[in-house]
């Protein structure tokens, strides 16, 4: 890889993927805000739902591989904060991967705390990079977290890539069809343990991926 494509090109590619991810998040956010005026959000959500967990798995996998590439192939040493973000990112490959195979959307209760912690650290790391003298008074000898290994488009650095991936994973696992969508009010309290009951009810009510009634559901 290193011989075929130089590191700068690779970094640019990863940065562009990050921009695309951010654009997707922004688009989703705008459609969500307009959900009461436009049906696009429901359309999009319904379309993404069946592949949400596989997509989240792909995001986790690409991010993990990218992270490993940066440290192993590009020889960018991970700093302390990088390591904490890695701890929060790498397990998602297995956790979300297994959930995608099992079609288990309840995985969000595991993934959200994990990516929440990761995103918090990424945010802190990014602030540290942008305002390095704000924090502490001493630079570590070898590898302080303020060193910018990648800086693209005047705003993209490695922790911002991580933050984007954490956010994408969080949103995608949230978009997966839920076992208890028939009762959105209580869905957050439902767990895997009581899923079968919920599913039975859902099965009677017909496929529902969103509380909002949709035209095609009205005519099964």
């Amino acid at each position: 890889m290193r011989d075929l494509v130089d590191q700068n090109t690779f970094d640019t590619f990863n940065s562009l993927l990050t921009v695309a991810g951010q654009a997707a998040l922004l688009g989703c956010g705008i459609l969500w805000l307009l959900r009461n005026r436009l049906s696009w959000w429901d359309e999009l959500r319904a379309a993404i739902a069946p592949i949400a967990l596989p997509l989240a798995f792909v995001v986790a996998l690409v991010t993990t591989m990218g992270s490993l590439h940066l440290s192993l192939a590009a020889d960018y040493p991970p700093c302390t904060l990088c390591w904490y973000q890695r701890i929060a990112m790498f397990p998602n490959v297995i956790i979300v991967g297994v959930a995608a195979l099992r079609r288990d959307s309840a995985v969000r209760f595991t993934v959200w705390p994990l990516v929440g912690i990761g995103a918090t650290i990424s945010t802190w790391h990014y602030i540290h990079e942008r305002f390095p003298t704000m924090i502490g008074a001493t630079c570590e000898l070898d590898n302080p977290c303020s060193v910018l290994w990648i800086w693209k488009f005047h705003y993209i650095s490695i922790p911002l890539m991580a933050l984007t991936s954490f956010a994408l994973i969080a949103v995608l696992v949230g978009l997966a069809p839920r076992e208890s969508d028939h009762a959105a009010d209580v869905s957050d309290r439902s767990t895997v343990a009581d899923a079968p009951d919920d599913v039975a009810v859902v099965a009677e009510a017909g496929p529902v991926t969103d509380p909002a009634p949709q035209p095609s559901e009205a005519t099964p």
Partner: protein, 236 residues
């Protein structure tokens, strides 16, 4: 407990089993295709833009304004025993009172420089360290304003150089921009001068008294008042 799913269980979730019934007019292949298109586009743009290499780093072999060859690394020679690694506590430091090593080398353009003979303040700085980027220009300003007591010298040691993009490389340019007018020692690629003084964290200060012994070591940004206090300890 009987409701707990087994590993092989697939929760029966309608959205998965009947994706066509999910109410979307956007087919899955369209989403996957759109994502694939974005990825391919990103790859094409990255490859297309790789022609213009954004390497901002300078290269050894540059010349200074007056034509002398600039090097970011210079061999150094250490005389005397190395100090222990600094613990981070200036008041509880076993190197205090120990004879400071004397390090001979050169500055960026190759002029001979020797540090470690007291009374002196040594400042170890790394071009990529934001705290050094903040502190060294301040020190230069304070020194220009008369910070140094009579007979006390100050030297900057450029060490731990990293040749990488976005790192404020090269240090020779950085030091010139800080306004530092005192001698500069260019450490070796192995940062031997730094190691000889027990360097631990940037910026790093070593205050050496008139007898050539360590009076104080400190790391991190220091205030003007703090520097003055430490300088007072080594003023002959």
């Amino acid at each position: 407990m009987s409701n707990r799913p087994k590993l092989g269980d697939r929760p029966t979730i309608p959205g998965y089993q009947e994706p066509k019934g999910s109410g979307s007019s956007i087919p899955v292949w369209a989403i996957v295709g759109a994502i694939a298109a974005v990825v391919v586009l990103a790859g094409v743009i990255a490859l297309a833009s790789s022609g213009g290499d954004e390497d901002t780093g300078g290269v050894d072999g540059n010349t200074s304004a007056d034509g002398a060859p600039v090097s970011e690394f210079r061999p150094v020679e250490v005389e005397g025993a190395a100090l222990s690694e600094f613990s981070g506590e200036p008041n509880n430091d076993d190197a205090i009172g120990q004879p400071a090593p004397v390090v001979s080398g050169a500055n960026f353009v190759g002029d001979d420089v020797t540090v470690g003979e007291g009374p002196a303040m040594l400042v170890f700085g790394a071009h990529w360290c934001p705290h050094c980027q903040k502190e060294v220009p301040l020190l230069a300003q304070w020194i220009d304003g008369g910070l140094l007591p009579d007979g006390v010298s100050a030297s900057l040691v450029s060490t731990a150089v990293k040749e990488q993009p976005n790192s404020n490389f090269p240090p020779s340019t950085w030091v010139a921009d800080t306004g530092w007018n005192q001698p500069v020692l260019t450490d070796s690629a192995g940062s031997e001068a730094g190691a000889a003084y027990g360097l631990a964290g940037f910026p790093y200060f070593v205050f050496i008294d008139a007898d050539g012994n360590v009076a104080r070591r400190a790391s991190g940004e220091l205030s003007q008042q703090q520097v003055q206090e430490y300088l007072a300890e080594i003023t002959p």
